[in-house]
């Protein structure tokens, strides 16, 4: 028998590339690129090529596990599900439904996220459901909804290739979204100017026409300086503003406080260069802005995104095929998890929980009473664990590595009366669980993922889950039914039909329409071909709104005791908490140890050599890691990837939150660095 090739979607970043998994005798043996995929068209990054490697790893969870003291004991499903249901019910009876928190997952399908939030909302009458979008693009959903009416990437990935000017801010696209980087290079090959704003030097900045190496956390001064120059020079798009915008006079008045010289002082960039970049962005026929965690992961994250929207709308660079605003989503289905309402303030399709009409609509559809009070966010659920949150259900998330100030997270997880974790491996978080449900990875189930360009795509089952592990959808149905809900779904397509009936923008989404190339929402009816770019002629909210981006510097800046800036982020061979990539032999061969980047001058000052062990300390905690001496970081700056359990960068990060979106400030805190005793020295 020859092998089968199963067409499916990559489980890593939000680009949503097409894979063909080669299956032989029920085993996924290789991954190859899908030449017919509309986004990746036959290319993959190192992680995509390695996507099959963790599937059959011996560490996979194969049976439900129950905590017995410090160890876990395998139990059958028909004990695990009733136990989970009764523990959750008891908690809700004793403390109320708001004592339960649910963390859904950007790694799971749309259908699973939909059922997860439905379960939490209907079984416990609480809106305490959230997921890790809180830690990446929460400011995007808040700010873009306010300014444009839709918190999603405005255009399609392939539209980038036609832009004349691309401004990339706080995005290491080459390492974090490598296939999108390819589209940027296509634009560059056609003559586009690539302008990159990043305090660090990256593979993107090295290939840019202009690199603005700003001081960490000074994006708003830069953007305000650019806008001020554009207005002063009359380069703003008056016709567009007149016809399609509100709030221009307020913005113009606000920008009086941002002369270009002040902007230059704040962000440490030459005034002439700010003017040059502003000219290029404003005068190009179609300009696109790409941004990522460098913009959002700040205590002023929402204001940062507002400033980006303002700049784009000021120049009329929204609503055409090759312009637009591109927040690059980090996880394969983080767009979908948001769309499906795995958020504490909205039902599926961003329908507000505090709007009585919406509450009524969902109460009727779901047949139960719902809470009209917005629930708690990821960081709040964890922060209040053991206090007002008594029990938690965590599906495929790993806050013990991914959340800021993890020393505190670990204490919180320990303080829960009951913790259920549903995952494919015994993660750092699962180690704190009372009950563990073994679930399925991307290759073991069907369903849909929505990529960063709003494209619903079909995930196809290639192999069976190991042992008695089940598909997440089935686990959710078992638990839902045990909790007295009617979760009698037999397949994900049925769940999608229900979603389509409740969310107008997804009304035309059906599994059989997604088979070949997927569909980009909004797709309101069965004849609708999907929407490659938004806001054409009219913003989702009607008129676009300029909102004033108030600048607040990072909450913790270097001082005498902690003289360095610390930033965290990703590197190309690993992904997030490493649960999958560190169990992939090829990726682990590429990199198998944690590191922190330090500037040569700082290294010399500290007498640190390449590969030396160093200790990085902040007010929250410390980690010992390996020094990489490089000019990629400026003097006084340290960069550490957060993938490594043995050196958890999130022991160090500052849990201070952006007031509106509640995203933590991962990108800036103050740190100290010391050389550790090296092997053979004491």
């Amino acid at each position: 028998m020859g092998p089968n090739f199963i067409k499916t979607i990559c489980p890593y970043c939000g680009t949503g590339c097409g894979l063909l998994i080669e299956v032989r005798d029920g085993v996924a043996v290789a991954t190859r690129p899908d030449r017919e995929h509309p986004v990746s068209r036959g290319s993959l990054c190192i992680k995509g090529w390695s996507a099959h490697e963790f599937i059959h790893h011996p560490d996979r969870l194969t049976a439900p596990l129950l905590r017995k003291g410090d160890t876990f004991q395998k139990i059958p499903w028909d004990e695990a599900i009733p136990m989970a249901a009764s523990k959750l019910r008891e908690t809700a009876a004793q403390y109320g439904g708001d004592a339960i928190g649910g963390l859904s997952s950007a790694k799971c399908t749309n259908e699973e996220n939909y059922l997860f939030q439905k379960l939490i909302r209907t079984a416990f009458k609480t809106n305490n459901v959230d997921h890790c979008a809180r830690l990446c693009h929460a400011p995007t959903t808040v700010a873009m909804a306010q300014t444009l009416g839709s918190g999603a990437m405005t255009n399609s990935i392939s539209d980038l290739a036609g832009a004349e000017c691309i401004l990339a801010i706080g995005s290491n696209t080459a390492e974090s979204h490598p296939i999108i980087m390819g589209e940027i290079y296509t634009a560059v090959d056609r003559g586009a100017a690539l302008i990159v704003v990043d305090p660090r030097e990256t593979a993107v900045t090295r290939n840019a026409k202009i690199h603005l190496r700003i001081q960490p956390g000074t994006d708003i001064p830069l953007l305000c300086g650019m806008m001020r120059h554009i207005i002063d020079e009359g380069l703003h798009n008056e016709e567009f503003i007149g016809a399609r915008m509100e709030g221009f006079e307020e913005l113009r008045a606000f920008l009086q406080s941002w002369p270009v010289s002040r902007a230059a002082d704040e962000c440490g960039i030459d005034e002439g260069l700010i003017r040059d970049v502003a000219n290029r962005y404003a005068t190009a026929k179609e300009s696109a802005i790409i941004y990522c965690m460098g913009i959002t992961q700040h205590a002023c994250g929402t204001a940062n995104v507002l400033a980006i929207c303002d700049l784009a709308m000021l120049c009329g660079h929204v609503g055409t095929e090759h312009s637009g605003i591109y927040p690059l989503r980090g996880q394969n289905n983080v767009q979908g998890a948001c769309d499906m309402g795995a958020l504490p303030n909205v039902y599926p399709g961003y329908q507000d929980v505090s709007d009585p009409a919406m509450q009524d609509k969902f109460q009727k559809a779901w047949g139960g009473e719902l809470s009209d009070m917005p629930g708690l966010t990821v960081t709040e659920i964890i922060g209040r664990a053991g206090k007002d949150i008594r029990a938690a259900y965590i599906m495929a998330e790993n806050p013990a590595l991914s959340d800021p100030d993890v020393n505190h997270v670990l204490e919180s997880l320990k303080a829960l009366d009951f913790l259920i974790v549903q995952d494919i491996f015994l993660t750092e978080t699962a180690q704190f669980a009372h009950l563990i449900f073994p679930s399925s990875c991307f290759a073991e189930k069907s369903g849909t993922f929505t990529n960063t360009e709003r494209r619903f795509q079909l995930l196809r089952k290639a192999v069976d889950p190991p042992g008695s592990a089940k598909e997440d959808l089935e686990i959710l149905c078992l638990l839902g039914n045990a909790l007295g809900l009617d979760f009698s779904y037999t397949n994900p397509a049925e769940v999608m039909d229900e979603i389509a009936s409740l969310v107008p923008a997804y009304g035309g989404i059906r599994f059989d329409r997604l088979e070949r190339e997927g569909l980009q929402w909004p797709c309101p009816d069965l004849e609708h071909p999907g929407t490659p770019y938004l806001h054409k002629g009219r913003f989702t909210r009607g008129k676009g709104l300029f909102v004033i981006p108030e600048y607040t510097p990072p909450k913790e800046l270097p001082d005498e005791q902690y003289p360095y800036y610390l930033s965290t982020g990703r590197m190309f061979a690993h992904y997030h908490t490493g649960t999958m990539t560190r169990r992939s032999p090829f990726l682990n061969r590429e990199l198998d140890e944690a590191y922190a980047e330090i500037n040569p001058e700082d290294a010399a000052h500290l007498n640190v050599k390449e590969g030396d062990r160093i200790k990085v300390t902040t007010r929250r905690g410390d980690m010992i890691t390996t020094a990489r001496i490089t000019n990629r970081v400026s003097k006084n700056c340290i960069f550490a990837p957060f993938h490594f359990t043995e050196a958890r960068a999130n022991r160090l990060t500052n849990p201070v939150l952006d007031p509106r979106s509640k995203i933590p400030e991962f990108k800036v805190c103050a740190a100290d660095v010391r050389k550790e005793p090296q092997d053979g020295e004491r």
Partner: protein, 283 residues
């Protein structure tokens, strides 16, 4: 062309000349992907477009199948040359492989800058003439001119590399185990871009006499590096100076493998050190 191919494939399966046919299948919802056809009824869904290189897959299929599994591959000229090269290098057993050769269109040849857009064993379609890649303006811009300028241009291109290893993974001939690109002595781990000289030039040199110019590397590259073009000069040199081209038959050894003194060439001057080798070698 499609019908001829289908009939041939059907005949091969009916007569049990092969256990499977590797080709492209257009399935439900018009999804096209590679498929191993083992049941003749499935062949109704066989298609020939788009160009989707199958030689590397063919090798994987054969390697992971039982010893007596026989595969027929529907292949274009470049796929055929890759398979011949793999046979020559003992990666595929000749008796386990059949080919159904199909011709490429003129447009495809122009797109690939292919100088030989047809297989030696042509079973379906009409062979069209090839194009000389070195006549292409874009290629000339990168391959012609002074060393410093060319180095700069290539450095600019190769600095884009995101180290996906897609060029290696998709190349039908890139098969060494262990792979030098995974040897820390040569290639630094854990950093991007992959370094130009150790990574890209090692790969280019390793393939200099085996590259069949299929372009799989370039098609897999997410950042538009024209990796195939690196090979054009060497292919030209091998053809013009040694009359050699990779993948044309299973017998002719590469001039790099055949030692220069196997067939003494009276017209050619050899450096003195070659004579010392000859003495040591006893030939």
């Amino acid at each position: 062309m499609l019908e001829t191919t289908k009939n041939m494939a059907r005949q091969i399966l009916d007569e049990k000349k092969a256990d499977g046919i590797l080709g492209l299948m257009k399935g439900q919802w018009d999804i096209i992907q590679p498929h191993v056809f083992e049941n003749p009824a499935e062949l109704d869904n066989l298609v020939l477009e788009p160009k989707w290189l199958l030689a590397k897959l063919a090798m994987r299929v054969l390697r992971s199948s039982s010893e007596n599994y026989t595969l027929a591959v529907i292949c274009r000229g470049c796929d055929e040359r890759a398979l011949i090269e793999l046979i020559k290098r003992n990666q595929i057993e000749e008796k386990t492989l059949l080919t159904i050769g199909i011709a490429c269109s003129q447009e495809q040849a122009a797109l690939c800058l292919c100088d030989r857009p047809y297989p030696a064993k042509l079973d379906a379609g009409e062979a069209v003439s090839g194009v000389d890649p070195l006549e292409d303006e874009r290629v000339r811009a990168l391959l012609i001119g002074n060393d410093t300028q060319r180095m700069e241009k290539w450095a600019d291109m190769l600095r884009r590399c995101i180290k996906c290893y897609g060029c290696r993974n998709s190349c039908p001939i890139c098969i060494c185990e262990p792979c030098k690109l995974e040897d820390e002595v040569w290639v630094q781990r854990g950093t991007v871009p992959a370094e130009m000289i150790p990574f890209h030039l090692i790969r280019a040199f390793h393939l200099s006499d085996t590259c069949v110019a299929c372009g799989a590397c370039q098609e897999a590259c997410p950042v538009n590096i024209p990796l195939l073009w690196l090979q054009f000069s060497m292919r030209k040199t091998l053809r013009e100076r040694y009359g050699y081209e990779a993948g044309l038959d299973t017998e002719t050894k590469s001039p790099v493998l055949s030692s220069a003194f196997e067939k003494p060439d009276s017209d050619r001057e050899y450096p003195a050190w070659i004579h010392s080798l000859r003495e040591r070698d006893g030939s």
